[in-house]
Symmetry: C2
């Protein structure tokens, strides 16, 4: 057992799945849960995901915990950190599972004694504790956003935790993390939302003619709007930069489609995308 | 048995899969194959997908066939139609499995006695006869692009064929088909290619940090470049129109991310996309 008591702040897909995985692997003996909704927490307790419910009371959930996991939407982290910082057990470790690291990690490590930001690359378009599963993290990457101020023992313990639930861990600078994920995650979400809205604007009923390609390419447009609203606002600068780069790439293709016959150039563009994308197929992890 | 002899012109994923499905369901007794590459045809024969090989000789493959299926890239259809039209068996039916209907259907029904264009919505990013499977069409839609000139008996026979291999058939005007699929298939392909190239331009190695969301949303960027080059060129006008509409939707989101705080409006945009996209999850077909 790595942590006697664990506090899950936000018992949704990620928080609930981590709780289940930690139980299944014997990594913790007791789990407390915080959330806005008493009903959601009771549902999680009924399912055996958490042992105690602390609706609206993150400090109550965090009290006595050896590990405190921020698993709400990222926009709530600052407020929760202020609420719990006086109630933390000495020697406890704090972490999160959010999609943004950047300034957030620096802000939280100022407030909390042993905070190390983490980002398991798992979850997708599902949300809510009803979708939680102890196997969610198996085969996923998990970024540990270590900084110069990170406590080495906390880093080591978290590395052990994520590996134990099935992740491949890697270290990344928090600010670089937000650039990378603006490119490989936040921009694709924005594009998927825009693609579906393009169909909606033309004639929503036409979506019924879509095949597997459209389904796959827009699956992430089913991601929780409030979560993605916050990610987009908080990482806006990086996202807008890559959205511009994306539009330039799209316009390159449009020029080759509409311009004078140069079928070879268009095929070369498609081929370079195919070759790069295929790299992900050779990964053994998903 | 619906057709004694079937000619598959182009033995790749779609042609090969149709051949396998027809054999498995007892819909044909003999299958001839045409293609550019003798090696590919021999591979298909060795696997029991076709019975006879006619490399470079579509007329030889079509001779004596009761059903002739165009399954090469769409840009080759015109030339193949000219090559086979003198060798068709009286009463034979001609069809295709291409992603474009529009002008192509009108062109082919001028040249061939009983041509009816079809488009099974199946295949995705895979290609080549090595990926062929008799189950490819199960649960897919198949568009039958019937026109005022379509032979009713041919339409009926093709409807029976596609249903027998597992499709839900629907009728659609050929020109309308090309608008619809520019929106729900061709544009998403273009977007997926552009997304991957955006990563490639920034730093291709960053693709290794991508998670399931990126993988799903760019899977179709592995589609065969030469096939998609032809589709994009031949359906360029429709695709460019929807690419413009898509860029406007994307820019709406960008404005809401970068502009003055209006988190609710951004969330509403995401939510409308989510609600429309969820319609596809309620389908029972895939």
């Amino acid at each position: 057992m790595i942590f006697r008591k664990t506090a899950i702040l936000g018992v949704g897909l990620l928080g609930g799945s981590l709780a289940l995985a930690m139980r299944e692997k014997g990594l913790t003996a007791e789990i407390s849960g915080f959330g806005r909704s008493a009903e959601n927490l009771e549902q999680a307790r009924a399912k055996g995901i958490i042992d105690s419910c602390h609706p609206g009371d993150p400090a109550g959930a965090a009290a006595g915990a050896d590990l405190v996991v921020f698993a709400t939407g990222v926009s709530a982290f600052g407020q929760i950190a202020r609420a719990i910082k006086g109630s933390l057990k000495a020697g406890s470790i704090q972490t999160d599972v959010g999609s943004l690291k950047g300034g957030l990690v620096y802000e939280l490590e100022e407030m909390l004694p042993r905070f190390v930001g983490c980002h398991p690359i798992a979850g997708g378009e599902r949300s809510g504790v009803g979708a939680a599963t102890g196997r969610l993290f198996e085969g996923s990457k998990c970024i540990i956003a270590r900084t110069g101020k990170s406590d080495p023992k906390a880093v080591e313990a978290l590395e052990g935790l994520w590996r134990a639930v099935g992740c491949r861990t890697m270290f990344m600078d928090p600010l670089f993390h937000d650039e990378v994920y603006a490119l490989v995650s936040h921009l694709p979400h924005l594009v998927a939302y825009a693609l579906v809205n393009t169909v909606g604007e033309a004639d929503g009923d036409l979506i019924d003619f879509a095949g597997k390609g459209f389904r796959d390419s827009t699956r992430i447009a089913m991601s929780a709007p409030e979560i993605w609203r916050d990610i987009c606002r908080m990482n806006g600068k990086n996202i807008l930069r890559f959205a511009d780069a994306f539009k330039k790439q799209l316009e390159r293709l449009e020029d080759l489609i509409g311009g004078p016959e140069d079928a070879e150039a268009l095929e070369r563009e498609f081929d370079s995308a195919r070759r790069l994308r295929r790299r992900l197929e050779n990964e053994d992890n998903q």
